[in-house]
C-alpha cells in the first residue's frame, strides 16, 4: 500500500472516530438536558458529525467501490443515528423523567433533608411525665384505651400486641365487643396476626413430623420425630397459654398439647422434656396431682435443672404452698438464675402479692355446658309459635 493511501486511511479512521464521538455527545446532550441552547448545540454537533463523515468518505473513496459504499452509507446514516437515539429515548421534558429523574429526586431529597435527621429516634417529647413514664415502660396503654381518640386507641392496640403478654391479649380481646366497628376490626387484626403466626408454626411442625414418619425407621428420622413432637407439645401449650385464644379454644389446645406429649412420651420414654411438658400442661389445666406425678417420673439427673425447678415452683404456687415455691426461688436466685416476674415478686414479698405464674387454672374444666344468654330474652319474650 502506498504511503498516501496509508495516510488517507489514518485520516479516514480519525474522522470516523470523531464523527461517532460527536454523535454520541450530541445524543447524550439531548437525553440529559432540556435547555434550548443545548438542543441547538446538539443540532450543530450532528451537522458537524455529518460533514466529518463526508470528509472521511472523501479520503476513503479512492480505495474500492465496496469500501467507498460502506463509508458513504455511514456518512449518510451517522447524522441520523444520533437523533434516533435521542428520539427513541424520551427527549426534552420527558428526559427528566427517565434519565434525570433519579438524579433530581436525590437532589431534592438532599435539599429537603439537609436540616432534618430523618431516622433519628424521637424519644423525648419534652413532657417530663410522659417521658418518664415511657422510660419506665409504664406508659399507660390502658389510659389511652380508655380516653384516647381513635388513632391513639389503634396505636395502643398495636403496641399491646407487640408486647405480647397474655394479659395484653386479654386487654385487646375486650375490644372485640367495642361499639366502634373500626376498633373491633383493629383488635381482631392484631390477634389474628399473632394467631396466624402460631398456627403456621404448629402446621409446619406437624408437616415435619409427617415427612419424618415416611422416612422411619431411619434413626435420623426418628430423632427428628422426637424433637418435633417435643416442640409441638410445647408450642401447643404455649399457644394455649398465650392469651390469644378464647377460653374454650385455649383449653382445646392444652388438651392437644397433653395428647401430643403423652403419645410422644409413650414412644420416647427416655425423653424427660416430654414428661416436663406434661407436668406443666396438667398444672395449667388445674390437675395438680397428675402434674406432680409427671414431675416425679423425671429421672434424678434432671431434678436440679432450672426448667424442672421452675415447673415445681409453679406447681407449689398453684397449690398455694408459697413457702415451698419461695424456697425454690431462693435456690435458683442463689445460683444466679434469672427468675420469671411472678417468682421474683414471690421472692421479694408476701404470697398475696399480685403475681401469678402463667396459668389457666381458673378456666372451666371443659367446654362449658351450652347455657349462653339469649340477648333479647331480657327485653322481649320469645313470641309463641
Amino acid at each position: 500500500m502506498s504511503k498516501k493511501r496509508k495516510l488517507d486511511r489514518v485520516i479516514a479512521v480519525l474522522l470516523g472516530t470523531l464523527a461517532t464521538s460527536l454523535e454520541l455527545t450530541a445524543a447524550t446532550t439531548v437525553m440529559w438536558r432540556e435547555e434550548p441552547w443545548l438542543l441547538f448545540g446538539s443540532l450543530v454537533l450532528h451537522i458537524v458529525a455529518g460533514l466529518t463523515c463526508v470528509g472521511a468518505a472523501w479520503f476513503r473513496a479512492p480505495l474500492s467501490q465496496v469500501e467507498s459504499d460502506i463509508v458513504l452509507l455511514t456518512a449518510m446514516f451517522v447524522p441520523v443515528f444520533g437523533p434516533m437515539i435521542a428520539w427513541t429515548i424520551p427527549v426534552g421534558d420527558d428526559g427528566r423523567r427517565l434519565a434525570g429523574s433519579s438524579e433530581m429526586l436525590h437532589r431534592v431529597e438532599e435539599d429537603i433533608l439537609s436540616s432534618a435527621s430523618v431516622y433519628e429516634r424521637q424519644i423525648y417529647s419534652g413532657d417530663f411525665d410522659s417521658d418518664l413514664s415511657r422510660e419506665l415502660n409504664a406508659m399507660s396503654y390502658y389510659e389511652v384505651l380508655r380516653s384516647g381518640d381513635l388513632d391513639q386507641k389503634r396505636n395502643a392496640l398495636r403496641k399491646l400486641a407487640q408486647l405480647g403478654e397474655p394479659r395484653h391479649m386479654r386487654m385487646i380481646k375486650n375490644y372485640f365487643e367495642d361499639p366502634e366497628p373500626e376498633l373491633r376490626l383493629c383488635a381482631y387484626l392484631e390477634i389474628d396476626r399473632l394467631r396466624t403466626h402460631r398456627e403456621t408454626h404448629i402446621a409446619e411442625l406437624r408437616q415435619r413430623i409427617r415427612a419424618a414418619k415416611e422416612r422411619a425407621p431411619d434413626p435420623v428420622a426418628l430423632a427428628e420425630i422426637e424433637a418435633c413432637a417435643t416442640e409441638l407439645a410445647e408450642s401447643l401449650r404455649s399457644y394455649g397459654m398465650s392469651g390469644i385464644l378464647d377460653e374454650s379454644m385455649a383449653r382445646y389446645r392444652l388438651q392437644q398439647a397433653l395428647q401430643t406429649a403423652n403419645s410422644a412420651h409413650a414412644r420416647f420414654p427416655d425423653n424427660w422434656r416430654l414428661a416436663l411438658v406434661k407436668s406443666r400442661v396438667y398444672c395449667d389445666l388445674g390437675d395438680y396431682d397428675n402434674a406432680e406425678q409427671a414431675l416425679l417420673s423425671l429421672p434424678d439427673a434432671v431434678h436440679d435443672r432450672t426448667s424442672v425447678q421452675l415447673a415445681r415452683a409453679s406447681l407449689h404456687f398453684h397449690r398455694r404452698q408459697f413457702g415451698e415455691a419461695r424456697k425454690i426461688a431462693r435456690e435458683l436466685d442463689a445460683r444466679g438464675q434469672s427468675l420469671p416476674e411472678w417468682l421474683e415478686v414471690l421472692l421479694a414479698g408476701s404470697p398475696e402479692a399480685p403475681a401469678s405464674p402463667p396459668s389457666r387454672s381458673t378456666a372451666k374444666p371443659q367446654v362449658p355446658a351450652p347455657q349462653p344468654r339469649i340477648p333479647t330474652q331480657e327485653r322481649e319474650p320469645l313470641a309463641s309459635s
Partner: protein, 502 residues
C-alpha cells in the same frame, strides 16, 4: 359505577346489583367497573349479564407508566394549572376545583396522559411544597412514590371517557364514587349513591394493617397520631368519599348505624335515607316447605354460607365447629361458598380443618345455589368480622332457618328487630362477639340441643324477613328514586347498542 364487585366478583353487593338490574328490565344500564389493573379479574364473569345491560366497560386504576408521544405537546397550561390547584386544595379539604378539573380532562378526550399531568413541573413544585410543609422529616423518595400512586388512580378514573346517562348510580364512594361524581358533573345529570359498607372505614382498616406502607422508624409514642403516610392515604380516601357525598343527589344506606359514619365523613344528613336490602321472599317458600318435610332424625347440619376469605373469618368458624363436634360428634358441617377470591386463605382453612381433625364432619363444597342447599340445613352460622347487611341472613331467614352470627353490620338488627314493632316478632337467632369460637360453639350447641327454640327462632326470622325485607319493596323504592331523577331522552350509547344488537 362499581368497584371490585359485580359482575366479576360474587358476593352480597354483586347479588344486590344483579337483583336490581334484572328486576328493572324496562330500564337499560351501562356498567362501568373500576378494576385494579387490566386482566386482574381475568375474562370470567361471576354473573350472566342481563339483556338490559347494554354497555360494560372496565376502567383500570393502575395503567402502565405513560407519557406523551414524540410529537405531542405538553398538556395545556390551563389543565396543568387546574390540576395543580385541585391537589393543593384537596390538602386542605376544599373540593371546589373538582368540577373544573373534570371539565378540562374530559375536553382533552384522552389526549392527556396521567404521567404528563402528574409529573409536570407545575405539580412537581406543589408536591415538594406539600412535603416541606407537611412532613419535612419524611423520606422524599418514599413520599414521591406515595404521592404518585395516590393520585395516579384518581387521574386515570377521571380521564376515562364518561358515558352519558340519565342518572348515575354508584354502589360505593372511593374511585367508583369519584367516577360517578365526575360523570354527574360533566353531563350535569343526577347521581345517587348506595353505600353497603362504609368505604372509608374499610380502607382505614386496610391501611392500618398494610405492610406495604413504609413508616418512618422511631415514632414510638402511643399518643402520637398515625404515621404520616397512613394519614396521607386515609386523607386521600376521605376526600374521594367527600367528593362523592357532595355530588350525590341522594345517599342510601342499608341500615341506620351506617348513617352516623357517613355524616362524620362529610355526607349531608338531609340526603341520607335507609333502604334495606331485600330478597325474593316467595322464592324461599318452597325451600321452607322442603325443610318442613325433612325427617326429624336426620343428621344435624350446620351451614356456613359465604366466600371463603379472611373477612368472613372462616378459621373462627372452623375452631367453633371443633368445639361443637366435641359435644355433637355426628354433626355435619357444610362450608358453602366460593374460594376463588383468596385461594391461599381457602387452602389454609382446609389445612386448618384437617389439623383440627374435622375430616369426618366438615366439607368445603364451593359455590352452590343457596336455595338448593338451604333445605338440608338446621342452622346457619356467620363469623364475619365485617358485614353490612348480609343477604345470607335474609335468605336463611326466609327459609325459616335460625342463625348464629357475629355482632357486625346490622346483624343484630336483622336477628332481633329494628323498631319496637319489629322486635315484637322475637329473635331469629343468637349474636356472638367476633373471633370468639367458644361463644359461637355455645350458641350453636344451645340451638342444636333445643329443637323447639330453633323452630321458634326460625319462624320469628321468617316473619321478619317477609314483613320488612321483601325485594319487591327494595326494587320499588329504587324505581321511585330513578324515576324522580330520570330525564327522558335517547342517549347516544343506547342508540348504538340497540342498533348493534339488532
Amino acid at each position: 359505577m362499581l368497584e371490585g364487585t359485580y359482575p366479576f366478583v360474587a358476593g352480597g353487593v354483586s347479588s344486590w346489583v344483579h337483583h336490581l338490574v334484572t328486576h328493572m328490565d324496562d330500564l337499560t344500564f351501562a356498567v362501568l367497573h373500576v378494576s385494579p389493573s387490566k386482566g386482574f379479574y381475568g375474562h370470567k364473569m361471576a354473573y350472566d349479564m342481563p339483556n338490559n345491560v347494554l354497555w360494560l366497560e372496565e376502567i383500570y386504576l393502575h395503567a402502565p407508566f405513560t407519557w406523551r408521544g414524540l410529537f405531542q405537546r405538553r398538556p395545556p397550561a390551563s389543565l396543568l394549572h387546574t390540576f395543580s390547584r385541585f391537589i393543593q386544595e384537596l390538602r386542605v379539604g376544599d373540593l371546589s376545583g373538582f368540577d373544573d378539573l373534570v371539565e378540562e380532562l374530559q375536553t382533552q378526550e384522552g389526549r392527556t396522559k396521567t404521567g404528563d399531568l402528574l409529573l409536570d413541573k407545575t405539580n412537581w413544585a406543589t408536591m415538594v411544597d406539600e412535603l416541606r410543609e407537611g412532613a419535612p422529616e419524611e423520606s422524599f423518595l418514599n413520599y414521591f412514590w406515595t404521592w404518585y400512586y395516590a393520585h395516579q388512580p384518581l387521574v386515570n378514573v377521571l380521564t376515562c371517557p364518561l358515558p352519558e346517562a340519565r342518572v348515575y348510580h354508584t354502589v360505593s364512594t372511593g374511585y367508583a364514587g369519584a367516577l360517578a361524581a365526575a360523570a354527574s358533573s360533566y353531563w350535569e345529570r343526577p347521581m345517587i349513591l348506595t353505600e353497603h359498607g362504609i368505604y372509608t372505614r374499610e380502607r382505614r382498616i386496610e391501611i392500618y394493617a398494610a405492610d406495604w406502607i413504609n413508616d418512618r422508624p422511631g415514632d414510638e409514642t402511643i399518643a402520637s397520631e398515625a404515621p404520616y403516610f397512613r394519614r396521607f392515604w386515609n386523607r386521600q380516601f376521605q376526600m374521594m368519599s367527600r367528593i362523592c357525598y357532595e355530588h350525590a343527589s341522594e345517599i342510601f344506606t342499608l341500615y341506620t348505624d351506617n348513617t352516623e359514619e357517613q355524616i362524620r365523613d362529610g355526607a349531608s344528613p338531609d340526603k341520607i335515607r335507609v333502604i334495606p336490602n331485600g330478597i325474593d321472599v316467595n322464592r324461599f317458600d318452597l325451600v321452607f316447605d322442603e325443610r318442613q318435610a325433612r325427617p326429624p332424625n336426620e343428621r344435624f347440619t350446620i351451614g356456613f354460607i359465604g366466600r371463603v376469605c379472611p373477612i368472613k373469618d372462616v378459621r373462627t368458624f372452623i375452631s367453633a365447629m371443633r368445639l361443637v363436634v366435641e359435644h355433637l360428634p355426628d354433626a355435619r358441617i357444610r362450608v358453602l361458598g366460593p374460594w376463588d377470591e383468596d385461594p391461599e386463605y381457602a387452602e389454609e382453612c382446609m389445612r386448618f380443618a384437617r389439623a383440627l381433625e374435622l375430616d369426618d364432619n366438615l366439607v368445603f363444597e364451593g359455590r352452590v345455589a343457596v336455595d338448593r342447599a338451604l333445605p338440608a340445613l338446621d342452622l346457619v352460622v356467620l363469623t364475619s368480622i365485617s358485614e353490612a347487611q348480609p343477604l345470607v341472613i335474609l335468605e336463611a331467614g326466609a327459609a325459616g332457618i335460625p342463625l348464629v352470627t357475629t355482632e357486625v353490620g346490622c346483624c343484630r338488627e336483622l336477628l332481633e328487630g329494628r323498631t319496637p314493632e319489629d322486635r315484637s316478632l322475637g329473635p331469629g337467632g343468637l349474636i356472638t362477639p367476633i373471633a370468639s369460637p367458644g361463644e359461637t360453639a355455645r350458641a350453636v350447641l344451645l340451638l342444636a340441643g333445643d329443637p323447639q327454640l330453633r323452630r321458634q327462632m326460625g319462624a320469628n326470622l321468617r316473619a321478619r324477613v317477609k314483613r320488612y325485607y321483601d325485594q319487591g319493596d327494595m326494587v320499588h323504592a329504587y324505581r321511585m328514586v330513578y324515576e324522580s331523577h330520570i330525564v327522558l331522552e335517547e342517549l347516544p350509547w343506547q342508540e348504538s347498542a340497540s342498533s348493534s344488537a339488532s
